[in-house]
Symmetry: C2
Subunit: 285 residues, 2 copies
């Protein structure tokens, strides 16, 4: 393969952009502040939270934790979010998901005000994306795919892009974002015939694998010259992190592909921080 | 061609369904009432309005006209819509578009409450569609495409469907609706390379032509066995109505196609009336 599309170099460039923007905010006495809302003590939530805290501090941003007990009443959790919405010193919210099953996650995520919804998790933010408006923040993972392509000067406009997966978390939003970037978009999913999936992937310029299953994209589905973006985060029986793409086999054929770990995921949190800085900047504009 | 997919037979079946549902509403003293809001005296608006009035009366539904002068102040027009929103005797709204250029059409259409937005023109209704919710009404033209396929027992699930056009009026909504019906969806548009458009169309099971230009789909883009749905309404220099599809040439190759006029357009107003009856039924549920 010509190129492994590593996330770190993209994240570094975005980090530098953030650092350049900070002095103007500090001068106005503004420290971009991120509310991290966690419910319960799930180890993967805590790991993600620690990563976000560290990243924020490295960039001179202020993380503020809101830790709620696992058995918190849904109404109380909604009040926590509302208080954050109304707190002028907080510029953005990271709500760790999934929430415990006892809680109506839709009701909670839809409480986030669009101005602080840094990862586009509320219906109001997602709707703006569908309507082609740019007033809200894009979902960080979907945006990370596009940032990696752009950083590597891979043309999107007029290209045939196949998205595998149609979730509201990644598949549908990334398809809408790529459509806005003037790509020709095909959305495949579990009900797509196997032969069609193979043909469509082989015929694409770019494939975005976002099905949430290891082994979704295999060597027989890939053509020379293609670019493969792997959004999957899966774990095998030994606890090893795997993407949706059979990277080793696919990398022998495709022109470029993102690794997992070290690909899309490395850019996502950085974009969250970029959105936080933008949210803070918007409060003074 | 094996079959011309005429709209009238589909509309007749829907009409019969509406007529069957009316007695239960009449028994409760409810006459489904449609507010038709027209601004100015545009002849094509008046023609459409007359068609809707006639159709409503044939089905025992009550049309109520709200005719506003062409120079109406935007705030006054919004007040008209708000009054209709709040009028319990009115169950649905047909807002004739396009509105005069002096008016912010977005502000007006977004005033429609989702419960009475029979043609899914407000952002709130369109958002529900994107999110896969079924609480709002679908856009009538997009739904007409699907009704014609279903009436003719043409499978949608697992089929490759190409949508040409990405407008919020038809392209994006119909793509989302077909995705929900488990089709594999490709969205093509003005920035799709000509060769890709031809290949993708030829490889599809169903093509929905919704570009808004006569001659968008020509014989060289069609394969035997395909089903073609033509959403276009265009007029040539002699004032003759044309679809987006070169029907005469395409019909020699495809298995089935909708004519223009007499295809999708014949079903659209009927679906508006069906939505009106549903809106009236929901007020008593």
């Amino acid at each position: 393969m010509e190129k492994v599309l590593k996330g770190k170099i993209v994240a570094d460039a975005i980090n530098q952009g953030i650092l350049n923007r900070m002095p103007a905010l500090y001068e106005r006495g503004i420290v971009p502040t991120l509310a991290i809302v966690r419910v319960g003590e799930n180890p993967s939530d805590i790991a993600y939270e620690n990563g976000a805290v560290k990243k924020a501090k490295t960039l001179g941003l202020q993380p503020e934790k809101f830790i709620c007990p696992a058995d918190i009443d849904q109404r109380d959790l909604i009040e926590v979010i509302k208080a954050i919405n109304n707190d002028e010193k907080i510029h953005g919210i990271l709500l760790l998901q999934p929430l415990p099953e006892s809680i109506d996650a839709d009701a909670v995520r839809n409480t986030l005000c669009p101005e602080k919804d840094l990862d586009c998790i509320s219906d109001a933010s997602l709707s703006r994306l569908f309507l082609g408006e740019t007033t809200g923040f894009a979902p960080c993972t979907a945006e990370a795919c596009i940032e990696i392509l752009k950083y590597n000067h891979i043309e999107i406009k007029g290209k045939k892009i196949v998205v595998i997966g149609r979730s509201m978390v990644i598949g549908k939003p990334v398809a809408m974002m790529l459509l806005k970037e003037n790509a020709t978009i095909t959305i495949c999913h579990t009900k797509t015939a196997e032969a069609d999936l193979k043909d469509l992937c082989r015929g694409a310029d770019i494939v975005i694998a976002a099905a949430g299953h290891a082994g979704t994209l295999t060597a027989d589905m890939v053509s020379p010259g293609q670019v493969i973006i792997d959004v999957g985060i899966n774990f095998n029986e030994e606890g090893k992190m795997l993407g949706d793409v059979d990277f080793e086999a696919v990398s022998k054929i495709a022109a470029a592909a993102t690794p997992v770990p070290g690909g899309v995921g490395s850019v996502t949190t950085t974009l969250l921080m970029k959105h936080l800085v933008e949210a803070a900047e918007r409060t003074v504009k």
